[in-house]
Amino acid sequence: MKRIAKSLLSLALAWFALMVLPAPGLASSCFECHKPGDFQGAVVHRPVAEKRCDQCHNPHVARHEGLLVKEQRELCQGCHEPLRARMEKSTFLHQPVKEGNCGGCHAPHASAVAGLLDKPEKELCFGCHDRLNKSYARPHKPFQEGRCGTCHDPHGGDDYRLLKTAGAGLCLGCHKNEEGMKQSHLGRDSRALDCLGCHHPHGGDARGLLRGVKHKPFAQGNCQTCHGKSQGADSCLGCHQGVLASFNKTHSHLQSSDGGNPCIACHNPHVGDRAGLLPANEGAGCQSCHPGTFKRRSEMLHQHPGWNKCSDCHDLHGSDWPGMVKGSAAEVCAGCHERHKSFSHPMGEKALDPRNGTPMDCMTCHDANVGTNYKYFLHGSAERGLCVQCHLSY
């Protein structure tokens, strides 16, 4: 009888504790230790405003830092479902999004900035993209005002620059004077134009934010020098005849990308950022035809430094070597890594790869092009996995 009474008393105490004492995870108990002022701002995250700390945190114990109930990505996307769906469809993701590091840009509790951004947009973006923080004689207004999100989607998109809209649609969203635009572009349909090919979206020195290096006939207004002739490569070769020989290689990069002039697949016929009328971001040009290489590279843990400057290793007009590298791997790599010859694994005709009987070179063990998941972008673990591919009895 006594035992039954004890059990009933225990149950009653437990009920009292649950009903009367503050529930763990509710703000009233959290704020006994955490200053409420640290959770206030112009914009407050809804769970904080509703004092539902337990929506994100476990007050007792958790597997994740900050006593989060789930991994950050999973936790945020649990409520922000439409964002998750959009990210799943995106070809390119912003690096913090890819890493599930929502807190890289957002303050989870409260902020003075819309979208719960950790800092004002300009400060936040240039915190990582400091290379783009430049002054221009004629800056583009959104850039000048630090409104990066006007053109870029900070989470992801189908363009590697994370642009919100493809093609001219992005620009025409603000530059609505289509008739004027048409007149400035020889009557062409402005929706079919590649605005960013000629205009720098952040700023420039010239009127209209034209890119800095101009093709001579364009600068002189002699359109007929090129447009009066064939629209094929002959319109370029008429003046640049000597260039043709550079394509006479086993692997030639001469490849029409649209059934028209193959030269303009890489070179802008009007303006560019640097000599050769090429874009400043070399890899960006290459990526448009070689997205697979860039995608695979982005998935690797270890990549060759400076990989975005493709012309360091590749001959962009043509080469006699696979992968259009400038020479044998030994030659190309020695251009920067000359000293490695003195201590590396034997290479060349005296060290044949037993798998295929070909002379070993740097690329036998390293993948400097795409990278790998192993240190020094080796094809396997340097502790053993790489070596046993040839040294089977090792």
Partner: protein, 291 residues
């Protein structure tokens, strides 16, 4: 199952060798040249077959060499047309024992007649005088030469005087052809970047097949008798097999250097018996598979 678990553990430890070769219904038959033959290829780039004499011709631009092999893979001869070949990149067998060769160093097409030891050179141009940059070539059943022009991304059929007779081009939005094959039902061409295959038959609009699987660097095309499409992915080291409607079915081989793997492969071709020949530039060999 046990083997799978062992492989998974090895992969986690970084110990896994290149995975086993995925050959699907295909069996490895032979390699050109045979490893113990003493014959060496440097960087083979193309292959052609002579269905009458049942010979393989392999193009190795290093040293400007054409090598012939019999149906068993026995090396027959190496040939550089008396030094006329400096950098051949493609070859087709023509009539009267002649060989058509693309010589990249001069961007010419050469007609080589080994028995007469005669070499004739041709510059190819369109009617408007613009240059053709030949990359692949083939001879049709009526002895006409067809050439893939990298400059425009088209396939052109030439008449007996090597004047352009017909131009086969992709539709608007095409990215340029990278390979073509002549079959009984028409000319098949691969637009690699666009992921499309075209079939041109005289007097009809081309039929276009969109491949339902993206590839990294599609470079060469073959079509088997059942209408299946074989697309060589150079960077992935694989051959993707599609149904006649472009529906992905399976993938053969894989990237690597071991037997049964590919390292920068350059071309696929069926021989007179429907055997699958794969030119593997990076591994300096040609692999031949049968079913």
């Amino acid at each position: 199952m046990k083997y799978g678990i062992i492989l998974a553990v090895l992969a986690l430890l970084g110990l896994a060798p290149e995975g086993g070769a995925e050959t699907g219904p295909w069996n490895f038959l032979m390699q050109l040249p045979a490893r113990d033959s003493g014959v060496k290829l440097d960087r083979p780039i193309a292959i052609a077959v002579d269905s009458d004499s049942r010979r393989y011709y392999v193009v190795d631009p290093v040293g400007g060499t054409l090598l012939s092999f019999d149906r068993e893979g026995k090396h027959l001869a190496a040939f550089n047309a008396g030094g006329a070949l400096k950098q051949p990149v493609a070859l087709a067998k023509g009539g009267s024992g002649a060989l058509w060769v693309i010589e990249r160093s001069t961007n010419q097409v050469l007609r080589v007649n080994p028995s007469e030891q005669q070499v004739r050179r041709f510059d190819l141009r369109y009617d408007d005088g613009s240059l053709i940059f030949p990359a692949r070539l083939a001879v049709d059943g009526r002895g006409r030469l067809l050439v893939l022009d990298r400059m425009r991304g088209t396939v052109v059929r030439l008449d007996d005087n090597l004047k352009v007779e017909t131009i086969y081009a992709a539709q608007s939005g095409g990215r340029g052809f990278v390979d073509f094959k002549i079959k009984a039902d028409g000319i098949w061409a691969l637009d690699g970047l666009a992921g499309k295959i075209y079939r041109f038959s005289d007097g009809a609009a081309p039929s276009v097949i969109t491949l339902d699987r993206a590839m990294t660097f599609p470079l060469s095309l073959e079509i088997d008798q059942a209408g299946q499409l074989y697309v060589l992915d150079r960077h992935a080291g694989t051959i993707a097999v599609f149904g006649a409607q472009g529906d992905f079915r399976h993938e053969l081989l894989g990237r690597g250097k071991r037997h049964g793997k590919l390292w920068y492969p350059a071309q696929v071709l069926f021989d007179w018996e429907g055997r699958l020949c794969v030119v593997d530039e990076g591994n300096s060999r040609v692999d031949i598979f049968n079913r």
